[in-house]
């Protein structure tokens, strides 16, 4: 009995977690979708009744479509830029990680910024690239750049920094550097070894980090909330629909689109990573 008991009992301990997931995950998503379809609660100016408009508005309205595209471009683009800087950095850290406290300190410095709220990141950007920002005072053309797409992009690059470096570092710490050493002895240049050995081997982990960081970045509200003046991203419209006139059904539709976009980015990256991983096994 004991073996089976041990197993059941430890799974039993997991029940509260699973129950929580169901209560907090499945139910609200269902309610959200029902509301978005016009079958649940509606706002003052909204018609009840089944409609797909609330869900398709992000694709049909040109303004929302533009926000959707900008959200994806900013979310994935900023993470990609961080990856280009982060992969060599974290690889170097993992190779020299053995060297006393050094590596530990670097690790803390690089991951501490994960604690910086999106709203503070947005604020930084205003102080740097805002209309009276310090860069604007030096180069007038940069004044107010914080509120343009390039400025928002810069803010999001900073936002994704710790969200990329931390997980990347964890993933790279298991990289077998003897693969590169062996490639070198076989005659490969440093660049060739990187492209033909390192990159293919770390790609599944990189794709997964990319997906997770991009999903978080796409859904982040704080940064864009501080920077939204001319340019807009999707999370903003969800909040606006609620605060301006309490358009519950419309906001629900946008929230479903936003959630699907973020979760979709994550899910796609997971699938791609698993597929790449299988190719290695």
């Amino acid at each position: 009995m004991s073996g089976a008991t041990a197993r059941f009992s430890s799974l039993g301990a997991a029940v509260p977690g699973i129950a929580l997931l169901v209560a907090f995950g499945v139910v609200p998503l269902a309610v959200l979708t029902v509301t978005a379809l016009g079958l649940g609660a509606t706002g003052a100016g909204e018609e009840p009744g089944l409609t797909l408009d609330n869900l398709t508005q992000a694709v049909t309205s040109p303004r929302l479509r533009q926000e959707l595209v900008a959200s994806v471009v900013v979310g994935i683009g900023s993470v990609l830029i961080m990856l280009v800087a982060g992969i060599p950095l974290t690889l170097a850290m993992s190779r020299h990680g053995g060297q006393v406290g050094h590596g530990r300190l670097t690790s803390v410095v690089f991951t501490l910024p994960i604690a910086l709220p999106g709203i503070v990141v947005g604020f930084f950007t205003i102080l740097m690239l805002g209309r009276t920002g310090i860069f604007g005072q030096v180069v007038p053309a940069l004044g107010g750049a914080a509120y343009t797409l390039p400025g928002i992009f810069v803010a999001y690059v900073y936002f994704s920094f710790p969200r990329v470096i931390g997980p990347l570092q964890a993933a790279m710490s298991t990289f077998d550097h003897s693969l590169v050493d062996t490639a070198r002895t076989l005659g490969a240049s440093r660049a060739r070894a990187f492209v033909s050995v390192t990159l293919p081997v770390v790609l599944p982990a990189v794709v997964q980090v990319l997906g997770t960081a991009a999903a978080v970045t796409i859904g982040g509200y704080g940064t864009i909330a501080t920077l939204a003046q001319s340019e807009r991203l999707l999370p903003l419209s969800v909040a606006d629909r609620l605060s301006n006139g309490y358009q519950v059904a419309s906001a629900s539709g946008l929230a479903v689109v936003l959630a699907l976009l973020a979760a979709g980015t994550l899910a796609v990256s997971r699938l791609l990573s698993a597929w790449l991983e299988r190719r290695l096994r």
Binding site: Q99, D176, R184, T185, V197, P200, L280
Partner: protein
């Protein structure tokens, strides 16, 4: 100066502030196999990495076939490496792994295909050419790593603990197979191992290292016959050096408790007076008897282990532990009488001749 073979000349290597290898000099003639053996942390793997160009020496040179490689990058050394865990490229097939070095060297497709086919046949991997490393057994992985390193026709082939990653049950067979494969190459082979049987059976030259320094180098039989010191005797032969005094009557050991007649020992009577020497006691040097005899010494049986072929006995003679392999049944805690079985080697130290 044109030197043939592999020359390691006064090599020292530092890791951070510690000296991992100190003043190592070795010479391996063309076509021969060097085994570097020693306990973990003795610096043997560092020597291998330095030959490969993956670690930079603090002092000294590495010369292969007269060419000083000390400042040549790893990618231009013509040194093949079989790392300890084999480090097969997980994203490439067996063929892709073997082909890697040839591609990196810009060998054209037809020549590449021909060379890989030959190596696949040589290492008996042809049916597995399309497999991924993860689908291979330990022994197959070892052969892929070997074929990959051999593909670039290296002047020196380095093998880091080539058998350590294999199941102990398979190691014997894999060692014989590896010997066959290495025997067919013309390059200089350097094997790093912590296993004395591997070193003795696979190498033409064995180098014993300890704490970053070379303790002794020579042919397996040389080292087996005359280990330089107690460390090599213990590590390589499982044997013990016992201090002896040679006088005109006999060889005396254990503070005179054991008098060995000259008839039983391979030692020359000193011309005059007494001389000091040391006696190498191997596990099969002693025969045990229940009865006292000429040239025997009483010994306490501390341990007796039946290991099949024989019983391994640890004797205590005057506070010194001596290992003996015997076919006779002995009982722990009893006293037996040990005498020399054959003619173990005694090395009288001429400089220590006493009055």
């Amino acid at each position: 100066m044109s030197e043939s073979g592999l020359v390691i000349d006064d090599l020292s290597v530092d890791y951070d502030s510690t000296r991992a290898v100190s003043g190592l000099s070795l010479h391996v003639p063309d076509g021969q196999t060097l085994a570097i053996v020693g306990p973990s942390g003795c610096g043997k793997s560092t020597v291998l990495r330095t030959i490969a160009g993956l670690t930079r020496p603090a002092e000294g040179r590495v010369v292969v076939g007269g060419r000083d490689l000390t400042h040549v990058p790893a990618s231009a050394r013509d040194v093949g490496l079989v790392p300890q865990n084999y480090a097969l490229f997980p994203h490439l097939s067996v063929r892709g792994n073997i082909e890697y070095g040839l591609k990196a060297r810009g060998v054209d497709k037809v020549a590449r295909r021909e060379a890989v086919d030959r190596l696949l046949a040589f290492t008996e991997l042809t049916p597995l050419a399309q497999r991924r490393p993860s689908q291979l057994s330990g022994g197959q992985r070892q052969r892929v790593a070997l074929a990959r390193a051999m593909a670039i026709e290296p002047s020196v082939l380095l093998l880091d603990e080539p058998l350590a990653a294999l199941d102990p049950q398979l190691r014997g067979a894999m060692r014989r197979q590896l010997l066959d494969l290495l025997g067919a190459t013309t390059s200089i082979n350097v094997i790093v191992t912590h296993d004395r049987h591997e070193a003795l059976s696979m190498a033409d030259v064995v180098a014993v290292m300890r704490d970053g320094r070379l303790v002794q180098a020579g042919s397996p039989r040389e080292l087996w016959q005359a280990p330089a010191d107690a460390f090599v005797a213990d590590f390589l032969c499982g044997a013990t050096y016992v201090d002896v005094v040679l006088d005109q009557d006999a060889v005396h050991a254990f503070d005179g408790r054991w008098a060995i007649p000259y008839a039983a020992v391979d030692a020359a009577r000193p011309a005059t007076g007494r001389a000091r020497g040391r006696l190498l006691l191997r596990p099969d040097s002693l025969v045990l008897s229940e009865h006292r005899g000429t040239g025997t010494v009483p010994a306490l049986v501390r341990h007796a282990e039946f290991v099949g072929e024989s019983t391994l006995v640890t004797l205590e003679v005057a506070g010194t532990a001596v290992s003996v392999r015997t076919d006779q049944p002995v009982t722990t805690g009893t006293t037996v009488h040990a005498g020399l079985a054959g003619r173990p080697v005694a090395h009288p130290h001429p400089e220590e001749i006493a009055a």
